[in-house]
Subunit: 930 residues, 2 copies
């Protein structure tokens, strides 16, 4: 029989902070803080193992657990000198969840357990405060009904407990809860018990042990509630871990004006500023702060109202931060002027805060540079790159009177979008507005591809959503994540909404008290200004300002310094810290860093961010421009090889000049150019107007255009006539591209700029395909070099994106000087999942736990195995084979760790993902060797 | 310096029959026959290595080759006591190709080398036959011009040599070539030399050594001519092997009426009859017989005209057949009553002949049973299963006067189709007629799928082609292969056309002299009966009869005995030999044999052919029938799970009764049932009429139907919402299917018939998919067993058809009791090649030598590696994992050898492919252990 219960108190503590897997994060830290000598109410922790057993065995308790819980309870009674259910001197406890990794707000808690019709009188006597006792009792009943008994109002119904409370207040003519007297509270208790009886089918349990055991069950169960599951999927947390349960002596922040409850961050989770940050509510209990129902006081106010406690809290802050070597998020309760610490954990923070906290702590000597790297999640650095409002535009908008309100700046950033008022409508509305915008754009740009239209539409703020609510609940998380920003009328900067917004880098303004949200009319009113659902607003997450309409954006400081040089490095502390972080990452980074870029301008951005070469230049993007697409279409409509060659030769000057730009921008760094990849039908017009235009331009009949389009259409274009298959049936295409590449290379080299070209053949499955195409490339190179009277360094290699190529990589390597894993297509083929179609089922897959993550975002393990096989077999045949990856996974941190572990030479990411990839690759270097 | 030249003569022979890789088949056998003491004109063989060098080194001769050839020529002059180019006593030689594996008619030959303006006189004097000498000379010039100098008539032009010959005949008033006198032949020679000069830009070379060296070059080059490459691709022969070249002393069949040239098969290559079979031409040279230009005499005629030679030939036949232990195809020349053997090789034969020869030789004690197995190519047994003409229908057609002519029965079988007269038009016409027929059928069957329409259309003889020609040439092979049968007006049963037809199992009637073929008018006339291109004719390949219109077919003897029991086994010798062959295969077979069958009737056929279970029953086929498709569509249109369940429950009775049929037919053999696989859109109507009908039947608007169809359409359906993905989003579908399966199993078992079900989940990539679906199947089984109060044996396993599943098979195996490799989809995804789309480029791939074979016909090596990985990793996790294959490769012999080598437990093939698979698996067992 194992040990499932661990105790903590000033005198005896069985756990410590390194036992998070067993005791959960909250539990381990309660034990640790007890050890540190902080004032923590004593209690005990039920292990995650007990929870895992519970779910694996039909929701039964593991043998011995009940006895251990009862023993621990007895111990708790002893050290508190109180009895659980003792009418004279009753012990009250809380039961709280606590997983290995913090999942704030996702699971359940029950407070005030131990109160019943007898003990409520005992508490009244012991505290000499019957009002407090009965108020606590009615809170217990309501919370127990909700969490344990699952009594919830219908969607359209008002909370029945709230209604009962209102009735009593109405009857007695009272306005606030706090005005109710003892008899009225007893009336409330009776009404609450009646609700439990009616809706729950049984009485509120009077036996404190039954209350406690059922509360433990309910906390176990809350591990599997829907929002917890969704949170875990989002954060790649395993369902198998289970939660620990903490049973802890109650302390009360609602025992009068010398009592309070609050949340304190050791530094600002929004900006990282090195000062205590937080909020508290006087005479309030437990969840009132995080629930955001009452707007609390700023922590600095405490200096005035409770100066001694403030000093003690400052001391706790310093102690905890140095002990945990990270910014802490602390929950505390003040009971009759005594400070109790109820929880500490590493604080969630914005990207701004993450970078500043890590680098500040490094500068302060609290952590070393490896730790600093590990303090910033790679994706967080993208927060620093996002545009902010243009200062002039802000001032102008203020002058125009477009500022409609101000709230608390809870998530820094700038957000513009259209108002939506229900979280579950964020995604549908966004999709609808996107589709509408694309339809409008299609009329204006009949030749644009679907992808282009989407790209254009996505840049329009009218396709974005700002979620506007009175307050938010944990179930709103998914909607918040899909929104551009969040505005709430209620709640503080440590409220749940604010916390989630910061964690996800959402711009958020909370507690904007002048905003009057009417869910029925779907309006939000600021004074006499009425905004409706669908209206555009702008949120300034740095200042808390809310504007009607759109405000113009400008570059972030990082972009201003690095890319546009509109700011000097020494002007921006943010840039300096960002830069130090990047350079620190480089020290530990083993993966090379390239970028996916098709234009000189993109390449320059990537270099500024630290790219060391181009991993993928897609030549086809060059053909979509207005002046080129016609030549391309002529090529496609050509009936003979001669006509094709003729049309293609018209494209050479364009390609050559594009390549010259690229080579010049890269200044001697390697440039990997992929030959034509998409099927020819992608270049054809897709609507009648454009077809007519094309027919006219080419002097052929509309029918002919239609016929050719039909001829080129495919059942499964993903698996059709594309990639090197085009170059094999139409060798003149490869030849034209090779000619453009080598002519450009010679021209640039002639100007004294070094050039290293890597010509990459796409969609190779069989070595003969590569052999065929490589021959054309080499022959063309030789011809061009002869014509130009000079030579340029070049390699010929291939993408590995077909499963066959990965498992037969030894064959392929005989003809390839490098491999670049095209993990987008490798995922499509390796999983048999079309990226255009998987939307119809991937939701079910994630929801049912079949896949833990989206395989097009993060490299799937089976695809990683194909990459590993490709590496192993390729290197076996050619030990010096250079290996990279150019799929979009090259910019995803989780995937980068996998590529590092497999032992590739470099990853390639889009220019704006380079900082993320750079940090991730640096962290990967810390995580273990190749 | 290597040895590149090997000599053969009665006195000195350097090679033998086991040196085919080096000396080619023809060469090795010339050496062997010399050793055996047969009268073979002496000569020497240039090795295939010399040819390989030639192609690898810019068509240069390997160092030393020229000297070795000159030495060997010197030796040849010595043993013949003649001089090459000696005007007094000239030696003449032939230069012939000879690859490792015989490629009849594909490469080039030059005869009579050594003749020039001087030696022609020497030959005239030596043979005392100036007419013969000058006739030989003009033949050399024409052949040299064609083969060596590449002088060919334009497509629309008559052969200029033919024209010159005709002019001389016209001028002298002669009708036949043989009537020309010496002076007239000299005139022909001069005209021929003029043609060479004009068209070749140089004189016909007078130097015999130049003639010979150039002829050797030309034979090397002919290895790479287009038809040879095509032939090699068809027969999976490597381009890298090269051809040997045989230089041999000329003997002449055209030296008078005591001379002849001919071809002899040791048994009938058409039927296998154990008697000498063949043809010869008196006073003729070389290629006249195989070219089919003159219709030759039957070999039995020789008994009359040259009795002594006939006896000697019979002796040679017996000697060679016993020596080579196989039916031989022998070329001979009789020069002035002396028999020379010019070639022997294993004879190409029909399936009928292959089976009969192998079993006869086994019964005669010439070969053992392992050899008998190796004498029959697996695909050849399909010839025995094809329908033959119904005897009554034949008699009726004769009575109706529909028999229009009779030729030589060169390829047994029955063929009906429409006349096409040019080989290169066979495929286009067939495609056109198929499309037309499908269009007609679509009108009659608006609900039928594209596949169904195709299947129906293919059964219509009006979509088939009979190639009708005056004679055929090697370049007609591709067209012949695409035709249903071949009819020629000219040529014998050993002509090229006949040989190819037999080898490929084509029905062929040759030498139908009454057929008058007019290529210009595109007609063929029999007496006054004019048939036009597109008219239907029927060929009886057993008798040589040609009929106008269609003749009804009936079962082959094998089918009559085994399947329809309309014939007793003892009535059919063919069946008995087939049966013995199958049972012999079983003795060596290690692979199990299952069938892909969806219906009880199909299952019965498969069992009769030897299937030991069902490897794949596709449940979706059951839904396409008229009475079921509506329920299926209701299910698809259902908006709620409840409605879906309702519609599905309507399908249970159909599925259950189908499964009952299957289980009953299989009588306890394992039955693998795959749950629903195709995407739902495949079940929806695809034309407006059917859409309207559906809308009416379901009482919804046409717009709603359209909307749902649009909603379900996919960009890449291959990689979309199908397979287990359907069962995961709609668990009720899997549940319905499992219920039908287990209810049927219980019902059948109740009748006393044993049932073994294997439920197979398709398109599994991730173990969680299988876990999810297997759970539904097991839960449903438990429920049904409880309801029925009984249990039935069952397994749950999966298809391995997604590359991820193959490389992560260890994970999958934890939830699978068996794997069945779905090599169709594994090929599509593993190669990234859609079966519906690869037609646009696979032709180029084969033609350019990128792929050696169609990967959907024969398992591609990379896909084989995925299967091997799947086996290795699956067995590692679960050593008792049962492994099969159910893709169409399961019926392909080459693929079966690969599956055997990988070590799978069984293959599954369609019912009519079972005999092929059975024989192939038996042969695989002989070829080496697992």
């Amino acid at each position: 029989m194992g040990k499932y219960v661990y105790r903590f108190s000033k005198e005896l503590t069985e756990g410590n902070k390194d036992m998070r897997d067993l005791l959960g994060g909250k539990g381990a830290n309660l034990h640790e803080m007890s050890r540190l000598g902080l004032r923590v109410p004593p209690g005990f922790t039920i292990t995650t193992e007990a929870c895992v057993y519970f779910f694996k065995n039909g929701q039964k308790w593991v043998e011995g657990l009940r006895a251990q819980v009862e023993d621990a309870l007895k111990w708790l009674e002893d050290i508190n000198h109180k009895g659980f259910g003792d009418p004279e001197n009753p012990l009250l406890v809380s039961v709280r969840s606590g997983a290995r990794i913090s999942m704030p707000g996702m699971m359940d808690t029950v407070l005030n357990l131990g109160l019943n019709d007898q003990t409520v009188e005992g508490i009244a006597a012991a505290t000499n405060n019957p009002r407090f006792a009965w108020d606590s009792y009615r809170r217990l009943i309501a919370m127990f009904a909700d969490v344990v008994m699952g009594i919830h109002p219908a969607k359209t119904e008002k909370d029945p407990f709230e209604v009962a409370l209102e009735e009593v207040k109405a009857k007695s003519g009272k306005q606030y809860d706090s005005e109710l007297d003892v008899d009225e509270l007893k009336d409330v208790v009776n009404r609450f018990k009646a609700i439990v009886r009616e809706r729950g089918g049984q009485e509120f349990p009077q036996d404190p042990k039954v209350q406690m055991m059922k509360a433990i069950d309910a906390v176990f169960m809350s591990w599997m509630n829907e929002r917890a599951q969704e949170y875990r999927r989002e954060h790649h947390i395993s369902d198998d871990w289970g939660t620990a349960v903490n049973v802890q002596t109650m302390v009360f922040g609602n025992m009068g004006e010398d009592s309070a409850t609050g949340v304190m961050f050791s530094r600002s989770p929004a900006t990282g500023e090195n000062k205590m940050f937080g909020e508290f509510l006087l005479n309030a209990q437990g969840e009132d702060v995080v629930a955001g129902v009452r707007t609390p006081m700023d922590i600095e106010e405490m200096r005035r109202v409770m100066p001694a406690v403030y000093e003690e809290l400052l001391d706790v802050r310093n102690k905890l931060e140095r002990h945990y070597r990270d910014m802490q998020d602390v929950e505390f309760t003040i009971q009759k002027a005594t400070l109790y610490i109820l929880q500490t954990r590493n604080g969630k923070r914005t990207g701004f805060a993450a970078v500043k906290v890590a680098l500040d702590m490094l500068e302060e000597g609290i952590i070393d540079e490896k730790e600093a790297l590990l303090r910033v999640e790679p994706d967080q650095v993208t927060h620093l790159l996002r545009p902010v409002f243009d200062f002039k535009a802000l001032k102008e908008a203020e002058k125009q009177g477009r500022m409609v309100g101000t709230g608390l700046p809870a998530g820094p950033g700038a957000a513009v979008g259209r108002i939506v008022m229900f979280a579950d409508e964020v995604k549908p509305k966004a999709a609808q507005w996107l589709a509408q915008r694309m339809e409008e754009l299609r009329k204006a740009h009949p030749n644009a591809t679907h992808k282009d239209l989407r790209r254009m539409a996505e840049q329009d703020p009218r396709t974005k959503v700002i979620l506007v609510r009175h307050d938010t609940k944990p179930e709103d998380v998914a909607g918040m994540m899909a929104a551009e920003g969040v505005l709430t009328a209620f709640g503080g900067r440590t409220s749940h909404a604010a916390l989630v917004a910061r964690q996800r880098g959402k711009t958020a303004v909370v507690g904007c008290k002048t905003a009057n949200v009417d869910y029925e009319k779907r309006t939000v009113t600021f004074g006499d200004k009425v905004l409706r659902e669908g209206d555009v607003i702008s949120l300034n997450g740095f200042t808390g300002q809310v504007f009607e309409g759109e405000i113009r954006m400008k570059d972030s400081e990082i972009i201003a310094v690095l890319i546009n040089k509109t700011m000097a490095p020494e002007e921006s502390k943010l840039f300096q810290q960002f830069d130090r972080l990047m350079k620190t990452a480089d020290k530990y980074r083993k993966l090379g860093l390239r970028t996916n870029a098709d234009r000189g301008s993109e390449a320059k951005v990537a270099i500024a961010f630290g790219a060391e070469g181009i991993g993928l230049a897609r030549t086809e993007h060059m053909f979509f421009q207005e002046d080129r697409i016609l030549k391309m279409r002529q090529m496609i409509f050509a009936k003979t090889q001669e006509d094709r060659v003729q049309a293609l030769s018209g494209l050479i000057p364009f390609q050559r000049s594009d390549f010259e730009d690229l080579f010049s921008a890269m200044e001697g760094r390697p440039v990997t150019i992929r030959t034509l990849d998409p099927p020819l039908h992608e270049f054809l017009p897709n609507n009648e107007a454009a077809i007519q235009e094309l027919a006219k331009a080419m002097d052929i009949s509309v029918d002919e255009v239609h016929a050719r389009i039909k001829e080129l259409s495919e059942s499964n274009p993903m698996l059709g006539h594309r990639g090197c298959r085009l170059g094999i049936t139409y060798p003149e295409i490869t030849e034209m591209q090779a000619r453009a590449i080598f002519e450009a290379a010679c021209n640039v080299k002639k100007k004294g700029i070094d050039v290293h070209v890597e010509v990459m053949i796409p969609l190779v499955g069989h070595p003969n395909e590569l052999k065929n195409q490589a021959q054309i490339v080499r022959d063309t190179a030789a011809r061009v070099f002869k014509e130009k009277g000079m030579e340029v360094d070049f390699l010929v290699g291939t993408m590995i994106e077909i499963p066959r190529a990965a498992v037969m990589a030894d064959q392929i390597a005989q003809h390839a000087q490098f491999f670049s894993f095209g993990t987008n297509d490798l995922t499509q083929m390796g999983l048999g999942m079309s990226r255009d179609d998987y939307g119809t089922f991937i939701g079910d897959y994630i929801q049912k736990g079949i896949l833990g993550y989206d395989p097009f975002m993060t490299l799937e393990d089976g695809i990683a195995e194909l990459v590993r096989l490709g590496k192993e077999r390729g290197r076996k045949a050619r030990p010096d084979l250079h290996l990279g990856v150019c799929g979009e996974h090259g910019g995803d941190p989780e995937s980068i760790y996998k590529f590092h572990r497999i032992g590739l030479d470099y990853v390639s990411a889009s220019p704006f993902r380079i900082p993320v990839a750079r940090l991730a690759a640096g962290r990967a270097g810390l995580m273990g060797d190749k």
